[in-house]
């Protein structure tokens, strides 16, 4: 059983996101340890990209900080290889298709395998273009995690049928970022998914409070939180470990009891 599947075996999952290299790689490393310790079941690490079109201002700014701190795909691979020695939870990259394509798809995936990355999320690689990367992912046993959105409608079953790892269910229209209210009918999205697959389904985009996390974890197999964590890092920089840790603990608690 893959590490990603295992992460969803122990009940509802809490999935935490950080941008790699924000504010620097050393802090990213410590944050990964701290988040696992605090109960994160899966950790997403963003490979910074100059033009993250699916992200709101919070994560875009984190990308800019990371890039100006000198973080590159290579330095991030080195960090993952190091972190993987100590960390048991699945590690998943989130990035855009261009950094992978430009790096060389085969080279990228082989480095993922080598350094211990379990899956990859690419917001600008929809179902219709998955052939771009899927063969490389399969060759190296990296799960290509797909997204479904509130606008997916009849596309949901088609996408879910082929899904690997877990399905990233986008809770609302627009880009990533904290929202005070999310009105999407996530229940019906998930029930369409359930009709065709047993692949776990986690909900993200806009979630920041324990109540929201509990609500969406209840409807699915887990909650994904990015911008809210990145905001704490933006505020406290190198000193954000204990703040992030406390936050993840509270969120995991909410999700566990969902």
């Amino acid at each position: 059983m893959s590490r990603i599947q295992t992460a969803f075996q122990k009940g509802k999952a809490f999935i935490a996101f950080v941008t790699g290299g924000d504010p620097d790689l050393e802090t990213t490393e410590q944050l990964i340890y701290a988040m696992e310790e605090a109960g994160a079941d899966l950790i997403e690490i963003g490979i910074p990209f100059s033009d993250p079109i699916a992200e709101g201002a919070v994560i875009q700014e984190a990308n800019e900080r990371a890039l100006s701190s000198g973080c590159t795909t290579d330095t991030l691979f080195d960090l993952i290889a190091k972190v993987r020695q100590k960390v048991k939870v699945p590690l998943v990259f989130l990035t855009y298709i261009n950094p992978i394509y430009t790096y060389g798809k085969d080279r990228f995936m082989s480095k993922c395998k080598e350094s211990g990355i379990d899956g990859i999320i690419i917001p600008d690689l929809p179902y219709e273009e998955k052939d771009e990367l899927e063969p490389d992912c399969l060759r190296y046993g990296i799960d290509l995690i797909t997204l479904i959105a509130p606008t997916s409608n009849e596309r949901i079953k088609m996408i879910a049928k082929d899904a690997k790892g877990f399905i990233y269910c986008v809770s609302s229209l627009g880009v990533t970022g904290v929202r005070s209210e999310i009105n999407t009918d996530v229940d019906s999205m998930i029930s369409l998914v359930r009709e065709v697959t047993t692949t776990p389904c986690a909900v993200g985009f806009g979630i920041s409070t324990p109540d929201q996390a509990a609500k969406f974890a209840k409807a699915s197999d887990g909650a994904i939180v990015g911008s809210a964590i990145v905001k704490i890092i933006a505020q406290h920089g190198k000193d954000s470990l204990s703040y992030v840790s406390d936050y993840v603990k509270a969120m995991k608690e909410a999700v566990r009891n969902a």
Binding site: F49, L67, T72, T73, N98, T102, T146
Partner: protein
Amino acid sequence: MKKGRFGQYGGQYIPETLMNAVQEVEKAYDYYKNDAQFNMELEDLYKNYAGRPSRLYYANKMTADLGGAKIYLKREDLNHTGSHKINNVLGQVLLAKKMGKTRVIAETGAGQHGVATATAAALMGLTCEVFMGKEDTDRQALNVFRMELLGAKVHPVTSGTMTLKDAVNETMREWTKRVDDTLYVLGSVMGPHPFPTIVRDFQKIISKEIKEQILEAEGRLPDAIIACVGGGSNAMGAFYEFIEDPSVRLIGCEAAGLGINTPKNAATIANGSEGIFHGMKSIFCQDEYGQIAPVYSISAGLDYPGIGPEHAMLYETGRASYVPVTDEEAVKAFEYLSRTEGIIPAIESAHAIAYATKLAPTLKKDAIIVINVSGRGDKDVAAIARYRGVNIYE
């Protein structure tokens, strides 16, 4: 060829949230492009509103001065709103209306596409919002005011490099927030399928007219067509009907800014490499890790780090060639055409004129060059003055 591909280029690399919206546009376009009523309305708009056909003007003095090939200017600058952008926008906004959309959004660099979109939206009664890099709102302040006069809301974009590519990012983000009632009216032959095809189809009227007009004037096809290239919509429009005519050289002029060996340029073909960005596989200015380069050009309209996928294919197959033209060369050509022919071209178009002044003298006197004057230069006068060290009020 696979749907939405030009050779290996093109595709639909966009967030899942937009996939239904893009497929809806594709379906609607496939229907309306063959709809007699739609085509009649568009033709009427071209003729009675935009002022088409645009003139093909024989540049007698320029020809004599350069002492080589005969030079013709395709006068897209004479269109309503002052550029070729109106061709595409009338088509797309009409399509939006037929689709039942009530709101259009657009990105703009120099402001010409924004002005055209605001114009068509005003005409057809749709709400319009335009995203424009903060830096561009400063250097093209008059066009911002024009858009506002036309009833559009202009959003200055402060993320990233605050220029055209960031305006595209923000417009895509905005579209993911509101897909039901909104169409993203793309400004060039770029973005996810079907936009590169739609925009090309609405712009190909330029080459269709050039062909008819040059056959009437000279009884034969031209030897070269020269057009400036940012995303590449005016060039694609000017090239398209000649792609199957191998005797016609197709030449795109890209912005070399301070020079292709400096970090300050936007010469995608000269300096770029294959990548996937803004919904398409194409050629982009980027670093070894795929980070999109912060490009530069004196012309806001060419200040884009990529090129449309059909151009990438024309380049790869050798059907078209692409040459870099610096700021300095473009400014000189801007002044040259103004003085020689009494036509003030857009600084974008001046890139094509600059290359023509180099090419024409090397050709025989019976050779024919057509330059696509994609827009008029009113918007650039103050910028050219500043470039020459003169501070004038806009």
